[in-house]
């Protein structure tokens, strides 16, 4: 695996097409995430944001187009080898293992790693980011509150020591205080060097923390640009920021 220069693209998606049965869900999506960036993918429900993430980690089969990660073509690779190459995801709806403890859930995030001796160190790091999880570490994940589950889900993804972090709707269903906390952590994690691709319905918050953004509409990228520009874009304001 060749090391990329610190400013080059980590992830490059080119003309991606995905079908669900006969439904053409992604109609030629292209985007990229550069080293060190937070990039956000915003858009209405059903625009194809989650489908894009699921294509990146190999859950959804792509019919056309390429996905390159750190310069390597990972299109069509099975999910477990994509995770191994360094892409971790906190999926929509958290998707914790409800009958496993918080600690076991975090361990599952590190499933592909062979350096077990570093697990406890990484777990401490997750607990440092989310002290709440440490208090609950023996508790079954299914019994956590929504905010705690989201923390656990992000923590679980971080346990993979990802070179790219995919976050799918981390603010969904959370109280404003938790949303704030989650976004602070995302910025914190990014500062420590992990590029983030953030899918959000909460477009205002997402554009606040992101460097660049893409706006999706019915399976295509409708708009793209620096987050600051998108925030002031009239169309974006009308549709996603609840103004006008």
């Amino acid at each position: 695996m060749s090391e990329q220069p610190s400013t080059g693209p980590v992830l490059e998606i080119d003309d991606l097409h995905v079908y669900y049965g006969a439904i053409h869900a992604l109609k030629g999506v292209s985007l990229k995430v550069n080293q060190g960036e937070i990039v956000t993918l915003i858009g209405a429900n059903g625009a194809g944001k989650s489908t894009t993430l699921r294509a990146i980690n190999g859950i959804n089969r792509t019919r056309q187009g390429t996905i390159r990660f750190q310069g390597q073509d990972i299109t069509g690779s099975p999910p477990h080898s994509i995770v191994k190459s360094g892409i971790a995801q906190s999926p929509e709806g958290r998707r914790l293992f409800p009958l496993m403890s918080v600690t076991e859930n975090l361990e599952m995030g590190a499933f592909q790693r062979t350096d077990r001796e570093n697990f406890s160190e990484d777990m401490d790091r997750v607990f440092e980011l989310f002290p709440r999880l440490q208090e609950r570490r023996m508790q079954k994940a299914g019994t956590l509150s929504g905010g705690e589950q989201q923390m656990c889900s992000i923590g679980r993804a971080l346990m993979a020591r990802p070179k790219l972090l995919l976050l799918d709707e981390p603010s969904m269903g959370l109280a404003p205080i938790f949303v704030e906390r989650i976004f602070e952590t995302v910025v914190e994690v990014n500062k420590q060097g992990t590029p983030v691709l953030l899918v959000e319905q909460n477009a205002l918050m997402a554009l606040e923390v992101a460097k660049r953004g893409y706006v999706m509409e019915t399976g295509t990228i409708a708009l793209e640009g620096p987050a600051g520009d998108l925030k002031t874009n009239e169309q974006v304001r009308k549709t996603y920021l609840g103004e006008g």
Partner: protein, 346 residues
């Protein structure tokens, strides 16, 4: 408003069903208490037979519940894999190792361990191959397709047994004496019954350790709880499913040997025993490992009490009673004794 009324109806209906279920359960328990005081010694002796048989059923039930937990598939072929493993074990014991009643204890133990050393990996592979050939291509097909294929695989394995061994029962001489190992008052445990636990308990301990503590075992639990999230965590789902079938197959091989030592086996033994074990798995809460063993113990005792106590319908009715329990479980407590009420609670 309409939904509130509907919810109220549901609550009322379910509490009525619960009440009937509890009434049924209560009367059975009351009957057992009466029977116990009529003749405690006999009751306990019959109970011991029930627990022993339950231990064997439990090994088979685990195979159903492991596979169901991970694929939501009832692997009907499992009982037939169990029976074939018992038949193969009889060949190894009699024709290959030549064990007989006059063989010394140490060679019997070594011989039985050697048999397991062959049949466990062999039937682990057979079971995993069944998955690979018959179920894997249907992973994304409607669930009914896989279910019908499982019924088909059951017939195929059964007919392989029939072709190889014919219609006669296979049995081995009673190496393990039916003399008393424990004798307290009138309560007797014979060596051949006790030996079942010498095999089953270590196997259950190793399996529990595997599922709870190893990386692969944790992966299995993760896939059972959320297959897609497991894939997102980097767990190789296909491999985990194969490992599950390997584990289920080796448990079936242990059950096959233990059953052969107690009873006799022929090509269709797995059909009925498989259904009993499946009932046990459902009773305990399908997908729940402890539940499978617990359910098997209950079914074993129900069978023993029905056949060994006075004033019961008797052995001819055992099947009907076991399947009556299956139906009652599905009506009164579909999630089983230890199952979770959520659909993804496996």
């Amino acid at each position: 408003m309409a939904t509130a009324v509907a919810a109220l109806h549901r609550v009322r209906a379910s509490s009525l069903i619960d009440a009937i279920g509890l009434l049924l359960l209560g009367s059975v328990l009351l009957w057992l208490v009466v029977k116990f005081f009529e003749d405690p010694t006999r009751f306990i002796n019959v109970g011991i037979i029930g627990v022993t048989n339950g231990a064997i059923f439990g090994l088979v039930a685990l195979g159903y519940t492991l596979v169901y937990g991970i694929l939501q598939l009832i692997n009907f072929a499992h009982g037939d894999v169990f029976a074939l493993s018992g038949l193969v074990a009889s060949t190894i014991i009699l024709d290959v190792l030549g064990l007989g009643e006059d063989t010394s204890v140490i060679f019997v133990v070594l011989g039985l361990l050697a048999t397991l050393a062959i049949t466990m990996p062999l039937f682990a592979l057979v079971n995993a191959s069944i998955e690979r050939i018959a179920y894997k291509p249907l992973r994304h097909a409607p669930r009914l397709a896989a279910l019908i294929t499982a019924v088909g695989m059951s017939f195929i394995v059964q007919n392989v047994s029939l072709a190889l061994y014919g219609v006669d029962y296979e049995s081995v001489p009673s190496f393990i004496p039916r003399t008393d190992a424990i004798h307290v008052g009138g309560i007797v445990i014979q060596w051949n019954k006790l030996s079942v636990f010498f095999i089953v308990i270590p196997v259950l301990l190793v399996m529990t350790w595997f599922v709870r503590s190893t990386r692969q075992g944790k992966g299995m639990r993760a896939v059972a709880q959320d297959t897609e999230a497991s894939a997102m965590m980097g767990i190789n789902v296909d491999r985990t499913i194969s490992v599950t079938f390997l584990l289920a197959g080796s448990l079936a091989a242990v059950a096959g040997l233990v059953y052969l030592l107690q009873f006799e086996v022929r090509y269709d033994t797995g059909f009925e025993l498989g259904l009993i074990a499946f009932t046990a798995a459902v009773l305990g809460g399908i997908g729940n490992l402890t539940g499978a063993v617990l359910g098997a113990m209950v079914i074993g005792c129900v069978q023993a009490f029905n056949e060994g106590l006075d004033g019961t319908p008797g052995g001819d009715w055992t099947r009907s009673i076991v399947f009556g329990i299956l139906i009652a479980t599905l009506v009164f407590r579909p999630e089983g004794i230890l199952g979770e009420r959520t659909p993804e609670g496996a």
